[in-house]
């Protein structure tokens, strides 16, 4: 070997050792900080506009929840066994609104706004910000008009489909905010509904109607983009929430710093470094070694592996995540209720809970999340009974030709793959031989939402955005002809349709719950879906970190957290 080559190798080695040791020093973890944390997710927000292209992405919704603030929110409830704080979804309290009242005669809500609220831009909150938010929603100028959709679902007056009218003049007029949202004075606004609808307060809690800082937005509007979609989606989100954006690199990281003027008191954690770490095993390793203080979306087995690991805790909550079997009513043999019932009897639910979710799930005995107001456990839940399944198939005259395919989202293979395999074995045991058919998420969404032609599928992706069983009924189970939003299985029931009309206008909670109970019993009788399990939303975190609360978008609010010094 030549002297030059030897010198090059030695030089390279020395350089590398120097680099590594320098890096090692600078990356020393030391004691955990009580004011700064690192949070790891499989993604960071690709955009922040609540009416923008990434509005349906969970991390975008979580970011908005940390940066913006709603008018109202749910009242605190009790914490669960793992210490996760829960909300009482029947009770609302003011956030940016200090208080609110409802006049049934005029269908008008009056919101008294909180005074002295200061946002990240040092602007002060007032009624103009509320009007700006609703005017922006009604403009349907974003690529995904979520704000209009939520307002429309809650029957806020004049939020009609006229905004999409083919006649430009009609559409333009319909997009103007009228007297449905009015400013009484600087700290009082009214919102008028077109008809009684219990969904108004629930939709006001959702990210799509969180309140903008009007001045901050207008300062960044342009003639081509008068509602500042470009700015809010790519640069900043002027508002009045607990955190402000310090640094944001799309697809890489977002750094949030506490809004020291936050009206409910400055957050305990002053700085949050939120990083994208796509591989769940790396997130697991990082929280185990103290490089990160909180991580989410590990696989069930990875969460289970943390049992007994020193310095790491797992917080878990049964929220609104669930798994069900989808059977298309327009496809044979699922048009036969006996076949659907047989499938419901063929599935070994306990084994799925034990092997698929490592015990972090519970059997689901309704078509509504058990945490949602109006939930009712079925009088006769489906049970694992293979002999009954065989008898039902015989009664249905089912002839197995092995052509059925169980579709699921291929990106969720690590979670759904083992469960799909078990269901295949369960069905084979009663004489239904199926193939597994994993397909990409985009294709699954297209077939489930747009074409509605998926015959047989496993779905763990459905969360009604408004925390209400009535909304879930409209979303999934009302017939398409009567306004269903996402009736994936093409279910039609005049009973459910009639009940929905009644409950939508029912102001009395007890009567409404009774109607919802009838809806749920009908769905169970018809085997609209086969609800399988409600699985827990989990986070792995430092055992010094506490205060996690479960929000319906399943995202963390960093203002809830605190870190103990030792």
């Amino acid at each position: 070997m030549s002297k030059k080559l030897k010198a090059l190798i030695i030089g390279f080695s020395l350089f590398f050792v120097t680099a590594c040791s320098g890096g090692a020093e600078s990356s020393g973890s030391g004691a955990i900080s009580t004011s700064e944390i690192v949070s790891l997710s499989e993604d960071v927000p690709p955009g922040l506009d609540s009416d923008g292209p990434s509005a349906s992405i969970p991390v975008t919704q979580m970011a908005i929840g940390n940066i913006m603030e709603p008018l109202v929110y749910y009242k605190d409830g009790a914490a669960n066994a793992t210490g996760v704080g829960l909300f009482d979804f029947n009770e609302f309290e003011g956030r940016l609104a200090e208080s609110f009242t409802y006049d049934e005669a005029t269908l008008t809500w009056t919101f008294k706004l909180r005074q002295g609220v200061v946002g990240c831009n040092d602007e002060t909150f007032n009624a103009d910000d509320v009007l700006y938010t609703f005017a922006r929603a009604k403009s349907v100028s974003g690529s995904a008009p979520i704000g209009w959709f939520l307002s429309n679902v809650a029957d806020i007056a004049n939020f009609t489909a006229g905004v999409f009218d083919a006649d430009a003049a009609v559409a333009t007029a319909a997009k103007e905010l009228g007297d449905e949202v009015t400013k009484v004075d600087d700290y009082t606004v009214t919102i008028k509904q077109a008809k009684p609808n219990k969904l108004l307060l629930p939709v006001l809690t959702i990210f799509g109607l969180n309140i903008f800082d009007k001045e901050g937005m207008e300062a960044n509007a342009t003639p081509e983009d008068p509602w500042a979609h470009e700015y809010s989606n790519n640069t900043n989100l002027p508002s009045f929430g607990a955190y402000c954006i310090d640094n944001w690199v799309k697809s890489d990281s977002m750094t949030l710093v506490a809004n020291e003027n936050y009206y409910a008191g400055a957050p305990s954690i002053k700085k949050v470094v939120w990083r994208k770490v796509p591989t769940s095993a790396n997130r697991l390793a990082a929280v185990q070694t103290g490089q990160a203080q909180i991580v989410d979306k590990l696989t069930p087995s990875e969460f289970a592996s943390l049992d007994g690991v020193e310095g790491v805790s797992v917080s878990a909550v049964t929220g609104n995540q669930n798994l069900f079997v989808h059977m298309n009513f327009l496809t044979k043999p699922f048009d036969n209720v006996l076949v659907r019932r047989a499938i419901a009897s063929a599935i070994d639910y306990d084994k799925i809970i034990a092997n698929g979710y490592f015990g972090k799930a519970q059997k689901w005995d309704s078509h509504m999340p058990s945490t949602y107001p109006g939930y009712k456990k079925a009088d006769s839940p489906y049970t694992y009974d293979p002999e009954a399944a065989k008898a039902l198939l015989a009664e249905a005259g089912y002839v197995d030709d092995g052509s059925l395919k169980l579709t699921y989202i291929t990106e969720l293979e690590s979670t759904l793959g083992p469960i799909a395999t078990q269901i295949r074995a369960d069905l084979a045991a009663v004489g239904i031989n199926i193939e597994l058919d994993p397909i990409p998420q985009s294709q699954f969404g297209d077939r489930a939402l747009v074409k509605r032609d998926l015959p047989f599928a496993l779905n763990d992706n459905e969360k009604p955005i408004a925390v209400d069983s009535g909304y879930a009924t409209l979303l999934f189970f009302v017939s398409a002809a009567n306004g269903s939003l996402n009736n994936m299985v093409n279910y039609e029931s005049t009973t459910v349709d009639d009940l929905y009309v009644q409950l939508k206008n029912e102001g009395d909670n007890t009567k409404r719950d009774a109607l919802l109970a009838q809806v749920q019993e009908t769905l169970m009788t018809d085997v609209t879906w086969v609800p399988v399990v409600e699985y827990q939303t989990q986070w792995a975190h430092s055992d010094k970190l506490s205060g996690i609360k479960w929000h319906p978008d399943n995202g963390i609010r960093f203002k809830d957290l605190s870190v103990a010094s030792n």
């Binding site: 590398f16 120097t18 680099a19 590594c20 320098g22 890096g23 090692a24 600078s26 990356s27 690192v38 690709p46 955009g47 923008g52 292209p53 990434s54 509005a55 349906s56 974003g142 690529s143 995904a144 008009p145 979520i146 959709f149 429309n152 999409f164 989606n233 790519n234 640094n247 799309k250 697809s251 890489d252 990281s253 470094v273 990083r275 994208k276 770490v277 796509p278 591989t279 790396n282 390793a285 990082a286 070694t289 490089q291 990160a292 990409p440 998420q441 985009s442 294709q443 969404g445 297209d446 077939r447 939402l449 747009v450 074409k451 992706n461 459905e462 955005i465 979303l475 939003l485 996402n486």
Partner: protein, 366 residues
């Protein structure tokens, strides 16, 4: 009888190749222009194929955009906002830039996921991938070529057998598996590598962006701490990729060297009494074309193929950007990344061919 040549003389080779003459320079210029023209046609063809193929996929990007809570009106509004309510020819015209803003003006459109321009997305992610791939190739070549040469000199020796075993072992496992194994041993077990959380420690502020290459930007801005921290975070992904790339390069070097060593002109050189150093130089030079060709092909492949390494080490480069684009049916981002990767690959192949012209007289003759 063969004509007499001064085999080891670069000046002589240039003379043989006409590279020092006006005729040679004109021919090379003509060759480059012809390749650029062909490359332009290739890039345009690939882009058009991608444009039509992704629109024929059995999936709908609008469903991803609006989510599962929407009405038909919202769906249609979202569809119109993406321009998908227009005919495919109008969409093609927009993409190409018939209205003055499109690919022909360097505008790749806006991502349907991030809402940012695809150009800015590529500008952010491409340097991360290029940095990783380039450094990995430097390390891989620095390791693989000497080993390949050594094994060719002593076929059947201990080193040759070891390398054969390594080639089988390394080549039999997917790269992400090696990445996870290396992380497990070097980070989790031995603690001599950082957590795979990206280019810098989570709490370290990144240097101001100038070129997008963090190692360069940190030096340009005087951020020595960030330079060493980035190097610290990059060493394991670079070694992982170099470990994977070394296998085929070693094999190609060994085979090529062995073939040249047994060729008649080397025997003639030996018989002519040339020194070992001169013979080694001639041998290596004659062995280089297939090695360079392989390296070029691997480089083009790695621009998109390094995605698994990027994913595992949270590097968020062009591969990760492309994968997200594909999974979300983000047509503009898919079209943009395919176009950029195609152009870079074509440039690399062109450079490679030019290098081959300089080192291999037979190519020139053709």
């Amino acid at each position: 009888m063969r004509p007499k040549q001064k085999i080891a003389s670069v000046a002589h080779l240039r003379k043989v190749c006409f590279l020092n003459t006006e005729i040679g320079k004109t021919k090379v210029a003509s060759y480059v222009l012809r390749r650029i023209f062909i490359g332009f046609l290739q890039a345009a063809g690939i882009t058009l194929v991608v444009f039509f193929v992704i629109r024929s996929l059995p999936a709908d990007p609008v469903a991803r955009l609006v989510g599962f809570n929407s009405t038909p009106d919202v769906y249609n509004q979202a569809k119109a906002s993406l321009g998908l309510d227009r005919t495919i020819w109008v969409q093609l015209g927009d993409f190409v830039g018939t209205d003055g803003s499109g690919v022909i003006t360097g505008d790749l459109g806006k991502s349907w996921v991030t809402g940012s321009s695809v150009t800015s997305g590529v500008a952010t992610t491409l340097p991360i991938t290029l940095q990783l791939v380039l450094l990995s190739f430097v390390v891989a070549i620095a390791i693989a070529v000497p080993i390949g040469v050594a094994t060719a000199k002593r076929p059947g020796g201990k080193l040759d057998k070891s390398v054969f075993g390594y080639g089988l072992f390394a080549g039999a496992q997917p790269e992400f598996w090696w990445a996870l194994m290396f992380i497990f041993f070097f980070y989790f077990q031995l603690g001599i590598a950082p957590a795979p959380l990206g280019m810098l420690d989570p709490l370290m502020v990144a240097p101001d962006k100038i070129t997008g290459f963090i190692l360069i930007d940190s030096l340009l801005t005087g951020r020595v701490d960030a330079f060493f921290n980035a190097l610290w975070h990059l060493w394991l992904p670079i070694m992982t990729l170099a470990f994977i790339l070394s296998g085929p390069i070693i094999k190609m070097t060994r085979q090529s060297m062995a073939r040249v060593l047994s060729s008649e002109f080397i025997l003639y050189s030996r018989a002519s009494g040339l020194s070992r150093k001169q013979i080694a130089r001639s041998t290596l030079r004659a062995s280089l074309p297939p090695i360079l060709t392989l390296t070029g092909i691997l480089f083009g492949f790695m621009l998109g193929g390094a995605v698994l390494i990027e994913q595992v080490f949270s590097l968020n480069g062009l591969g990760s950007y492309s994968i997200r684009a594909v999974l979300n049916l983000d047509y503009p981002a898919i079209q943009g990344t395919v176009l950029i990767i195609t152009i870079i690959s074509l440039i690399v192949y062109l450079i490679l061919d030019l290098v081959l012209v300089f080192i291999d007289p037979r190519v020139k003759a053709q």
